[in-house]
């Protein structure tokens, strides 16, 4: 499996005595967009955060994470970032006291890695060019999300993890953002997309992973999963479907 970019084995996360995630295996290949879906609290964010060894609390994380063949499971978060594993956490947080330009300028690819240029980023998100000199705090939710993704691209990603990029976005924006993500993937960047908006996600992803209470409930190509009743149930409730 030499073409696997990101691979996790036996990834276990526990808060206190509580198991938040127990993931035997997960892999992400070049040019692949994998959607992670599941109810709130199912462990989706825990999963992407654990891949970076990152958390706002103090969980115990164990297991192996390999990026392009290199074991990075013991490295501090910033080292994983420098090696090209990028995460846009939930809510698309940006540095509110820095301007858009500063946010972008501050994101410089580590030595030996090539990040997206500003021009390439503006090509993807033209809106950011218009807001260049606004403070991060003054952006709308959608603009923040774009900026957060743009920041990660500038850092030179080998693999990109997106945690609920559609949160708080108008439906039109959701599809814009997801289509942009698809463009990135088609250009070769593998993306792990955590999404609660399943309808929107299903339109763009290649594979789906369904989480429930920290474990994988189902996994497979989107074509096979699309009509899986468990997917629909987990989200929409049978009454709606």
């Amino acid at each position: 499996m030499s073409d696997v970019v990101l691979e996790a084995r036996d990834l276990v996360v526990a808060y206190g005595g509580n198991l938040a995630l127990d993931l035997p295996h997960l892999a992400l290949r070049p040019g692949e967009l994998v959607g992670v879906v599941g109810a709130n609290g199912a462990g989706k964010s825990t999963l992407v955060n654990a891949l970076l060894g990152w958390s706002r609390g103090t969980p115990r994380i164990s297991g192996s994470v390999r990026l392009a063949g290199e074991e990075i499971g013991a490295l501090p978060t910033h080292e994983r970032v420098r090696r090209g594993l990028l995460l846009v956490p939930e809510g698309g947080p940006v540095f509110g006291r820095l301007t858009v330009a500063e946010n972008l300028a501050a994101a410089e690819a580590a030595a030996g890695r090539r990040g997206y240029t500003e021009a390439e980023v503006f090509d993807l998100f033209p809106r950011l060019r218009e807001r260049l000199h606004h403070a991060g705090a003054a952006l709308s939710g959608g603009e923040r999300q774009m900026l957060a993704i743009a920041r990660s691209l500038r850092l030179g990603p080998r693999a990109l993890l997106l945690d609920e990029p559609s949160i708080g976005l108008a439906p039109r924006l959701v599809s814009t953002v997801l289509r942009t993500v698809r463009r990135l993937v088609d250009a070769g960047l593998p993306v792990l997309l955590v999404e609660q908006n399943v309808r929107a996600a299903i339109e763009v992803v290649d594979r789906l992973v369904l989480l429930e209470r920290g474990r994988i409930l189902a996994e497979g190509p989107v074509a096979a999963m699309r009509d899986d009743p468990r997917i629909i149930e987990a989200y929409l409730g049978d009454t709606v479907a």
């Binding site: 978060t77 910033h78 080292e79 956490p89 820095l98």
Partner: protein, 288 residues
């Protein structure tokens, strides 16, 4: 009337105050950290400069560097010891730890440098001249120049430079900064090293104005508090203005009311500001 002379006094004092407070300003504004051992680090800086000039016989500029290096090392040491508290953003413990650190420094300095007062004799403090009726020294001008230079540099670095941007990212959201590939631990160490170096620089420049003892440092702490709070907690330009303002206030209050109660008066100003506009300080966002 001697108003002009007092204004000159105030300007020199004010630049000295601003210089003394700059380490704290960066510490607080950039990393949201505090150091209650600041005054004792000032004292150590002064004694290191004295030690390099008098017993070692090094030229004054080298002595300044020795003091700055010692200050940076001390800063690194403190931060290395309390790194866990810093990463937890446990300000309550950080305050107490730095207070204890100041206490240790004072005891250690008394052991190392003894109880005798010393004078930091520097070449510029021997050059005296008259300015608008006030006699000042080249050392005084050096302080003013250094303060302006340091503030200008800092404003450039913090507001525009890459280094300052990194630090501001850590200050705003250390967790998010990790996701931008920033080694937060190193930034914290660097910021504390800067605080130590900055206060040592201030000491090496300002301390020649008065004799030094290992028990000094308390007045400097209060001055720093007042400057930092009045300046808007962490604002570089604000601290400069607040420092100069406090210097002028000290000179005018001391000159026309009474020098005996200047500390109390500046504290009264501080309290008034805090009570009248507790949220209105530029602090609001940084401190929340």
């Amino acid at each position: 009337m001697n108003l002009v002379q007092q204004l000159i006094n105030g300007l020199i004092l004010g630049h000295a105050y601003a210089l003394i407070a700059i380490g704290w300003t960066v510490l607080l504004g950039v990393a949201r950290l505090v150091n209650f051992g600041h005054g004792q680090m000032y004292m150590i800086g002064a004694f290191m400069a004295w030690w390099a000039t008098a017993p070692l016989g090094l030229p004054y500029p080298v002595a300044v560097l020795v003091a700055v290096a010692a200050g940076a090392l001390l800063g690194l040491l403190v931060q290395a010891v309390m790194l866990r508290l810093t990463l937890e953003q446990n300000l309550v413990s950080i305050m107490i730890v730095t207070l204890g650190f100041g206490h240790v420094l004072r005891g250690a300095a008394s052991l190392a440098f003894g109880g005798t007062p010393q004078v930091l004799e520097t070449p510029p403090s021997l050059i005296e001249f008259e300015l608008a009726g006030a006699w000042i020294t080249a050392q005084d001008l050096l302080i003013v120049a250094a303060a302006i230079l340091v503030f200008a540099l800092l404003r450039g670095v913090v507001e525009r430079g890459r280094l300052g941007r990194t630090a501001r990212m850590v200050a705003e959201d250390p967790k998010l900064a990790q996701l931008a590939g920033i080694d937060v631990t190193r930034v914290y160490l660097a910021v504390f090293a800067f605080e130590g170096a900055a206060v040592a620089l201030a000491a090496a420049l300002v301390a020649p104005r008065t004799p030094i003892l290992t028990s000094i440092g308390f007045e400097e702490v209060i001055v720093t508090f007042v400057v930092v709070v009045l300046g808007g907690i962490g604002s570089v330009a604000g601290s400069y203005l607040a420092g100069v303002g406090l210097g002028l206030f000290t000179a005018l209050f001391g000159g026309f009311v009474s020098p005996a109660y200047t500390t109390a008066a500046s504290f009264a100003v501080l309290t008034a500001v805090l009570v009248l506009r507790p949220g209105g300080l530029a602090a609001g966002r940084a401190v929340r």
